[in-house]
């Protein structure tokens, strides 16, 4: 589904990603861990099309297409979804408006007609229940005045409604309390399917207790310095990152 080859990315003349290689197939769950500032969010942003970065080398293909050449909204309509580490507040635009606009643009992109108003409400309310949110959030401005945890939950609500193919979750777990983490994880698990892949950026094992990854990668200083199975996360929990970073310097 997603193939990242030798990806180098800079901001200005500062290199941030320094040769990332990653293959992600449909149905898989990949966790990306790594120290602060190592480039995890940068990778998420590059995949979803944020401007301000320069790709100096390498390529990314998504479902056989050159991902980096598509504008962000086309990527989104093609099924790339980023749950932001820091969701943006949009005063004056209600959550439900955005959901409807988003869903309709996906449908239009695939040559379908606009969603029926009643079907849409049924769909949205179902997902609101799944994530144990208050319906009032639908009518509030997007993320405005939401608590940190509410914002994260709202990101997953959007994801559940838009049903993307490639779900990138950038530290969705941080800011969630223990109960919310469980609810959100169940929401994510309910979306697992053989034609959908997940990339989960996280610092904590506890998310991976709920959503078991197939692969764990360690991103340090702009490179993937180690990949392994779910057990790698446990090892990291115990030892931290320093042994890997030292390795890298040694190598």
């Amino acid at each position: 589904m997603l193939s990242i080859k030798n990806l180098h990315v800079s901001v200005g003349d500062k290199p941030i990603l320094k040769g990332i290689n990653l293959e992600i197939n449909a149905g898989e769950i990949h966790a990306i861990m790594g120290p602060n500032g190592s480039g995890k969010s940068t990778l998420s942003h590059i995949l979803s099309g944020k401007s301000g970065y320069t790709v100096t080398e390498g390529s990314v293909t998504y479902q056989g297409k050159e991902l980096l050449e598509m504008p962000p909204e086309i990527r989104a309509r093609e099924g790339v979804f980023l749950a932001f580490q820091y969701p943006v507040e949009i005063p004056g635009v209600s959550n439900i408006y955005l959901l409807k606009a988003a869903l309709n643009s996906i449908r239009k992109h695939h040559g379908q007609s606009e969603v029926d108003a009643m079907d849409f409400l049924t769909l949205v309310k179902g997902k609101v229940r799944l994530l144990e949110m208050d319906e009032k959030f639908l009518y509030r401005a997007v993320n405005e005045g939401f608590s940190g945890g509410e914002k994260k939950r709202n990101e997953i609500l959007q994801m559940a409604i838009l049903e993307p193919k490639l779900c990138i979750l950038d530290e969705t777990d941080s800011g969630l309390d223990i109960d919310a983490l469980k609810i959100v994880s169940e929401g994510v698990n309910s979306l697992r399917s053989t034609d959908r892949a997940f990339v989960m950026v996280t610092h904590y094992q506890r998310l991976l207790d709920y959503i078991k990854p197939d692969y764990v990668h360690v991103l340090a200083n702009g490179q993937i310095v180690k990949s392994g199975g779910a057990e790698l996360a446990l090892e990291l929990e115990e030892k931290g990152y320093s042994w890997l970073e030292d390795n890298q310097v040694a190598a």
Binding site: S48, G49, K50, S51, P71, P72, E73, A76, R77, F81, L82, F84, P87, V88, I90, P91, G92, V93, S94, I96, Y97, L98, K100, A101, A102, L103, S105, I106, H109, A141, Q158, L162
Partner: protein, 440 residues
Amino acid sequence: MTTANASRYPAEYSNSVPLLCGQSLSWLKQQRTNALLQFSEQGFPALHEEEWRYTNVSAIEKKLFSPKVNKTTGFVDVEWLKSYQLEDAWSVVLVDGHFSAELSSLEGLPNDVLVKGMADALEEIPEVLERFINQAVSVDEHSFIAFNTAWFTDGLFVHLSNKQVLERPIQVLHIATQQDVLSATRTVIILDKLTEASIIETYVGYDNAYLSSAVTEVFVGKNADLTLYKMQCESEKAYHFGGVYVKQDCHARFRHHNFAFGALLARSDIHTDLDHASECELNGLYLGVKRQHIDNHTRINHTKSHGISRELYKGVLDGRARGVFQGRVIVAKDAQKTDSQMNNRNLLLSNEAEADSKPQLEIYADDVKCGHGVTVGQLDEKSIFYLQSRCVDEETARNILTFAFANEMVDKVRIKVLHEMILDQALLRFPQEGVNKEWL
């Protein structure tokens, strides 16, 4: 002032003076004569005057707008007029500066509400008007007040008494139908104690160059409550100079919503004097496109203690438009425990658009809570990307965010039909690709 400013308007208008309304009243005649004299000396305001430094009115001097002194109204396109008339409102129509009884509909107005054309009121109840005309504003304020005092042809008189709480709003439609016409009106609104009303001043015109000079004096009595709306949608060739001057008695509440959308050059002054524990809320939204110049001046004068004032003006400027906001808050020595907030936010959609903002706080009391803030900026790139990541294309994202910014002010309108009309008017002025009104 020197003769450099002297205007040719006084000479041009000298013939029309005897035909103006209320000329049989010596007090008014005297006021008009003094105002004329003052205007003859000063001419229109000039850029070196602090309150006019961003707004150049010399174009008015280059043209010559003439008042229509005979009352006969020309042809009025009734369908067009209807498109601006609100349902569920008492409707007053003024055509080219004259009250039109035929086009107005005031049937069923409660007895405790008096609504009359100014010319009629001056004939029927001159002693009342003598107590109110030029009492909320002084001709010394600036020379447009003198100009208006000298030449207003008609206007409106509204008086609520006996604790009347008016259920339906009164809409006052000022329409300009003729090329080069001067529509100069004076409106006096009086709310006796414990009365409540909503009044909507609407300014529209045919696709002509014309000049609107509209001065409204407002007196809000003890514990009375007035919501005054101004929807300025003049023709894009027009000049609009409007002022609302308010005196609030103690515990009086006054809310003003100022939608400045039209005209080539528009200036509005909103001044209010608060007494003990009065409250005022001034809201404004100005939308400028092409080469529009839209200037809003507000003055909130806290004269006694425990007053509350809230002000938010927002501007959206595109093309080569220029928006001006000057907001003054004055807290007198006796106005302890004043609570005042003033904010002005501007959104620039093009590199050539300009916003000038000048908030001024003048505080002479020591125990007060006063704040102000100004922002001038472009659409937030982070927000645009967020919307794009949610499938919305960039152009639509920009349009949505622009409307969201403006809509905060439109949303404060509590009258449903008016809310709808203002939203439509706002949408008209900006690209609306991808914006769905029903969802806003």
